[in-house]
Assembly symmetry: C2
Homo-oligomer: 235 residues x 2
């Protein structure tokens, strides 16, 4: 099961400890030396794991001081949500499947250029809506090249993380990606799904997500109502 690199294993362990509150916001993580001894790896490997934690926004490092846990925020993929009102300290985060994963052709004007292999393989499309405190906030369509993902369409994604399923079931880890942002007016479709007025400003994202499986990436387009919650991310 586990042929994960050690820095990835350590990353997952620490991330889980942060998410579950073993290390709370503001706490200092054990020092790099301590972690390297406890987990039986060199400091280089520890630093690689911590560096990933910094990039995903879980910790901040301070020279001469240590690594401080900065966030227990819930994530939506790589971006996280950010409540503008301090009343929303607690996020009740749910995912509703609008369209189950289905094999189909790539659309003609797909928003990223595709490789020959991707086009030939076809596309698995799924559509989801994210609810924050029971309000629809995101509408997301995800497109995965249909390459060596056995039983994918039969899995249950309701309230489950796509990234986690890809990691656990297919050993596919997200390594990065790029995204394009714009502000548009809600059309009838978006208006219905996000329960906002037609013409309201909506944040629109197109993303390509890259993975540890060589040459394999997937895509998503995302509409977000930012009236109450903002999208936040690191760079």
């Amino acid at each position: 099961m586990k042929n994960l690199p050690q820095y990835r294993r350590l990353y997952n362990i620490l991330r889980e400890h942060i998410k579950t509150g073993t290390y709370a916001e503001g706490d200092l993580l054990p020092s790099e030396n301590e972690l390297s001894i406890v987990h039986g790896v060199t400091r280089t490997t520890v630093r690689q794991a911590l560096s990933n934690l910094v990039n995903s926004g879980y910790i901040k490092k301070f020279k001469g001081k240590g690594s401080v846990v900065t966030s227990s925020a819930k994530e939506i993929g790589i971006l996280s949500i950010f409540g503008t009102s301090s009343a929303f300290k607690q996020y009740d985060l749910k995912t509703r499947i609008v369209k189950k994963p289905t094999v189909q052709k790539w659309s003609d004007n797909f928003f990223y250029p595709l490789t020959e292999v991707e086009i030939k393989s076809g596309c698995i499309k799924m559509e989801r809506i994210r609810l924050v405190n029971k309000m629809p906030v995101f509408y997301e369509a995800t497109f995965l090249p249909n390459i060596n993902l056995p039983r994918f369409c039969n899995r249950n994604f309701e309230n489950k993380s796509l990234f986690e399923i890809l990691s656990r079931e297919y050993h596919i880890e997200i390594t990065g990606g790029n995204q394009r942002f714009s502000a548009i007016e809600a059309d009838a479709f978006i208006s219905k799904n996000l329960k906002i007025k037609i013409g309201s400003p909506v944040l629109y994202l197109e993303r390509k997500i890259e993975t540890s499986r060589n040459g394999y990436g997937f895509y998503s387009s995302l509409y977000c109502n930012t009236d109450i919650y903002l999208l936040a991310g690191r760079f």
Copy 2:
């Protein structure tokens, strides 16, 4: 002058070569072994430089193959612009200063929490508009803590990169940051500055930029017309 770490020096060298076209889009960079020999550093150091190039979107690495130059795109700070129409392969990028750097107080409801030191030091504010092919696309207000930046307010920023001036004149390197996105309706002020109709959807960003100077960061808020150009970034 130069107490830059070696991986930073190498990063700057390679970035310059990519920007000026010595390594063109699609080219392979010299291998990590070759770079380590040529520049007299270990492969670890080379990899740190390349890793930064990946994060800023200049190259992509392929196992067993090499590092491919992916972009000669012009940047605006950390984000880059992306023309939706292929007609806009050439970006004529200009910056117009709307308000020269001025020392003032921080506003009461500043969009990021400030430290005691920052509040006491006061704030240098400047306002700029970015023009792409002579059309105003960004309006950006930048706020810097007024700490040890001699002669800053007297410098000429017209069509110059703030990041480059910070690096060259003050040895301040940008190390990362975070940002929040939302879509809003243009008000009268934005409408005038970006020459769009009141009520049009506008991309709004609030960012905190972190630097290599310990504890020193600065802020910017940014309004962007995404009708023609999108904002793009890596994660």
